[in-house]
């Protein structure tokens, strides 16, 4: 049973990681990255590493996507000003 969960979690991680690479829009990528972080957190937890899972949840699915989204906002604002 535990092995089934591990395989499912790893397959989800592989799918989410591929989606993050294939996606070309950084704002969408941030959302996919957040899902990937969630998948990795689940994978670490079913592999009996809840400490790492918690770190991954905080950093991978909340902090990093937020920083990417803020950066995208800053870059788009700069671009808009250049076109005026």
């Amino acid at each position: 049973m535990a092995d089934v969960l591990v395989v499912l979690a790893l397959m989800f991680v592989a799918a989410a990681a591929t989606a993050a690479v294939l996606n070309r829009d950084p704002a969408r990528q941030a959302v996919v990255l957040s899902l990937l972080g969630l998948g990795l957190a689940v994978a670490f937890t079913v592999l009996q590493a809840p400490d790492v899972g918690l770190s991954q949840l905080g950093v991978g699915s909340a902090l990093t996507p937020l920083m990417i989204l803020l950066t995208v906002r800053k870059v788009r604002k700069g671009k808009g000003r250049g076109r005026e």
């Binding site: 400490d51 918690l54 949840l57 905080g58 803020l70």
Partner: protein, 250 residues
């Protein structure tokens, strides 16, 4: 180098890495086996020091010096971000306009913020007992505060976030770890030695210096993440103008 040669070099590199990777994995213990020589010794050492969470015992006791390095990496990188994302001479700040927030999002924030903050503080306080600790709890606490930005607006976040205090918290957390290490040295054994009484197994005060080092890391990480996100928020919402240093670079 032509495209063909570059692809050839890439293919050779990938094949060699793949071969080394497979060879290395052939000698590894099988997945999910029962033979864990390092794990068994770490658990034994952790129980001897009456620390219920073995991972925290490894992080803050058996390998406390590694954690000092990791904490310093975060400290240094946040410091670097603060310097890099400062307001340049040709940039000006403008107060961000408050945007409309859906009522459902407001209600979600009202419920989620105190719950998330409490969970974060719980995870820090119980680092020596249950999964989690200063790093994980610190990140949760810092992101919880930013629910205020999502559910209300940026000025509301600024009001409850005196940035100077968090900068001090970042430095105090880092310094506390270093000073606690020196305490071990002064008490007669070694830097970062666990010199305090170990207490009763599975209680908040157990583990000697582990809860203290854990709290220092919690303070440092929570403050560091708040300071880090503050620089990103100021850049995204307040600072305008400038050419991003393109002219100087050219």
């Amino acid at each position: 180098m032509s495209r063909r040669v570059r692809m050839g070099v890439l293919a050779a590199g990938l094949l060699a890495t793949a071969a080394l990777f497979v060879t290395a994995f052939l000698d590894m213990p099988h997945f999910g086996g029962a033979w864990h020589p390092y794990g068994d010794r770490a658990v034994q050492a952790s129980v001897n020091r009456r620390t219920a969470n073995t991972v925290s015992a490894v992080n803050f006791d058996q390998r406390g010096f590694d954690t000092l390095g990791e904490e310093s990496i975060l400290f240094a990188s946040v410091l670097g971000t603060v310097v890099l994302l400062r307001q340049a001479r040709d940039e000006r700040t403008r107060a961000p306009r408050p945007g409309p927030v859906p009522a459902a999002l407001r209600r979600y924030g009202l419920v989620a913020l105190p719950a998330t903050l409490l969970i974060g503080l719980y995870v820090i306080a119980h680092g020596q007992l249950s999964p989690g600790g200063g790093f994980q709890g610190g990140v949760v606490v810092a992101t919880a505060l930013h629910l205020l930005y999502i559910a209300v607006d940026y000025p509301a976040l600024e009001r409850i976030r005196p940035l100077g205090l968090y900068e001090v918290g970042d430095a105090v957390g880092e310094a506390a770890y270093v000073v606690l290490g020196v305490a071990g040295l002064l008490a007669g054994s070694a830097y970062l030695a666990n010199v305090l009484p170990f207490g009763t197994f599975n209680t908040l005060s157990s583990g000697g210096t582990v809860p203290l080092l854990n709290a220092a890391v919690g303070l440092e990480v929570a403050s560091a993440v708040v300071v880090l996100l503050a620089r990103f928020l100021v850049q995204a919402l307040e600072i305008e103008g400038g050419d991003g240093g393109k002219e100087q670079a050219a």
